[in-house]
């Protein structure tokens, strides 16, 4: 098992790098693979001189942001599925991203600066997360006496989410036409304006460390639900950890790129299907595949009908829906 796991992980790391290189090569100006090393060196020196290096500079920032966003969403989705013990859960099911949408759209409606939009999105996500915690504390209670499942948390999340969506619809319907396009792009998820930031990487690294440390405990909880306490798992603490960390990951990803759909649902699901449900392998594989998937989807989004750019959320949904339906169908059989 451990050899198979390290083999798969190393393979996926290579795939991730390959996806970043492909993203750097393709576009209106194609950079041949032979020019990549020189261009990369110039870029790392901080002085892009050649045309290849300048183009790469533009593409690399976007590709790297796509990677961290996809990896965060996929990891958050996997955590949410483990928390709710439901393979059909995703990072958006509890309404954290809808909260971010309300914040971001309100900021866009009032023509705020880009950083205000990001801050408002993050604030909206945090607000929904805290509200959810207050309302559904029972399911996340600490100690080893956590009775029952997470039904209250799930229901509360779904209801908060629909309330937020109603607010989003309200804002869209009163927004002037000039702002509608940016708002819709934000909602679908779009990486074109996303600047490179370090913070999402720190959040991703911290979350990855937490989930890897608790990968075995996640297996036990996924198998035994609350009876995991009799195997020495602090169920309440683990649920709280999963809830807050997946919320943070979701907030960070959504702030970066808007609510990109389907990555958090289908990538963990597909990884489970391909590599088995063991979280010790699932955590690294879902993270890497999620990142690579969004990088490739974004490359498609900006090249498929170039010079027009599609929002990346459209591409992930268009690829994701048939794949997911196919899997769901096989699951039912």
């Amino acid at each position: 098992m451990r050899y198979k796991a390290s083999l798969i992980t190393i393979g996926l790391i290579l795939v991730s790098f390959a996806s970043l290189i492909v993203a750097g090569m393709t576009g209106s100006v194609v950079i041949p693979l032979s020019e990549m090393p020189d261009a990369l060196r110039e870029l790392l020196d901080g002085q892009p001189v050649s045309l290849a290096a300048n183009v790469l500079d533009l593409r690399a920032g976007r590709a790297v942001t796509a990677f961290v966003t996809g990896a965060s969403l996929s990891l958050a989705g996997m955590m949410m599925q483990a928390l709710l013990r439901n393979p059909l859960a995703d990072p958006y099911v509890l309404g954290i991203s809808s909260g971010a949408s309300v914040g971001a759209l309100a900021a866009l409606l009032f023509m705020c600066a880009a950083w205000v939009v990001d801050a408002a999105a993050f604030g909206g996500a945090v607000a929904v997360c805290l509200l959810l915690y207050l309302l559904a504390r029972r399911d996340l209670r600490g100690g080893n006496a956590a009775d029952g499942g997470t039904a209250l948390l799930l229901l509360t999340g779904v209801i908060l989410s629909s309330a937020c969506i109603a607010l989003v619809t309200l804002m869209l319907s009163i927004a002037p036409d000039s702002r509608l396009r940016t708002m819709v792009f934000w909602l679908i998820g779009d990486l074109s304006g996303a600047p490179f930031r370090w913070l999402p990487w720190f959040i991703l690294a911290g979350s990855l460390m937490y989930t890897l440390r608790n990968a075995r405990a996640l297996n036990v909880m996924a198998l035994h639900a609350e009876a995991a306490a009799t195997l020495g798992i602090r169920v309440g603490a683990l649920r709280k950890g999963l809830f807050f960390i997946s919320a943070l990951l979701t907030a960070s990803a959504v702030t970066n790129a808007g609510s990109v759909g389907f990555v958090g649902l289908i990538v963990p699901h597909a990884c489970r299907f391909a590599f088995g449900p063991d979280h010790r392998l699932l955590v690294p594989s879902a993270t890497l595949v999620g990142g690579a998937y969004l990088v490739l989807a974004d490359t498609l989004a900006r090249t498929i009908i170039a010079p027009q750019q599609l929002p990346v959320g459209v591409v992930t949904a268009l690829i994701g829906t048939p794949v997911f339906l196919y899997q769901l169908h096989r699951l039912r059989k």
């Binding site: 006496a145 306490a229 195997l231 449900p277 010790r280």
Partner: protein
């Protein structure tokens, strides 16, 4: 091994069990008997530490439950829940290996001795041939035997089982019960189980705890407690006893309905 002091359990406003002073010694095999809703599962969950008592306390090896570190407790007692739902496609062997969690410390992967323990447990439950199967494709009885195998792999001196014979066919009911009795007799393990089959319970148990569901209870050796008149009162149904060789068979009498 495990004891309760002045334990009270409520569900809503109803008191199910009151002032339960109960001692279970090592090597004893207890059956908990009572009508539906009498508090059997609630008691077992409380003993397992999944539910806090409404009054009184539970002691394992003389130490109150809240004072136990969870990991130490997980190496001391195992718990078989009444029902399971499997959300993910884990294989049978992964299910059983997960019960070795308390022995892993900070290791990321399990060792070969964990695999040995898991395979031995699967063989004891006659499900070794299912090792690579997806748990969600098993029949109810097979799933139950895998769950008991996981419990055996946890390798604890105290076993708490909520309806272990659930969904098992006749042959496996007998073999599982015989295995539990053997663990008590030979390895001095302690078993507390909930069951509805009086004949089966009588054949393997050394002691029985009867629950009335209104606070009343009665505990003692099988020979004293499992008498037809007492059982009739606690189960609120007339029960007759037939002796067949060395066996005692309990028969619910027909009521004129």
């Amino acid at each position: 091994m495990i004891a309760t002091e002045q334990l009270r359990l409520n569900i809503g406003r109803r008191t199910l069990i009151d002032a339960l002073d109960w001692r279970v010694g090592s090597g004893e095999c207890w059956s908990v008997i009572g009508r539906n809703g009498a508090g059997k599962s609630t008691l077992l969950r409380t003993l397992a530490g999944l539910r806090a008592p409404d009054a009184g306390r539970v002691l394992v090896e003389g130490r109150p439950l809240p004072a136990w570190p969870l990991a130490d407790l997980a190496r001391t007692r195992a718990f078989l829940a009444q029902s399971r739902n499997d959300a993910f496609a884990y294989s049978v062997i992964e299910t059983v290996l997960s019960a070795r969690h308390p022995y892993h410390g900070n290791r990321y992967w399990e060792d070969s001795d964990d695999h040995h323990a898991a395979l031995r447990a699967l063989e004891a439950m006659e499900v070794a041939d299912l090792a690579e199967r997806d748990v969600r494709t098993l029949s109810g009885g097979e799933r139950q035997r895998v769950a008991i195998a996981a419990m055996l792999a946890q390798d604890t001196p105290l076993l708490l089982l909520d309806e272990p014979a659930n969904a098992l066919d006749l042959a496996h009911q007998v073999s599982v019960m015989a295995l539990l009795a053997k663990l008590c007799r030979e390895q001095k393990k302690t078993v507390v189980m909930v069951g509805h089959d009086l004949t089966l319970a009588h054949s393997v148990s050394t002691h029985a705890l009867l629950l009335m569901g209104d606070g009343r209870w009665l505990a003692g050796p099988v020979s004293e407690v499992m008498q037809p008149d007492v059982l009739s009162e606690y189960l609120q149904h007339p029960i007759d006893v037939v002796r067949h060789g060395s066996r005692t068979i309990f028969i619910p009498m027909e009521t004129s309905a």
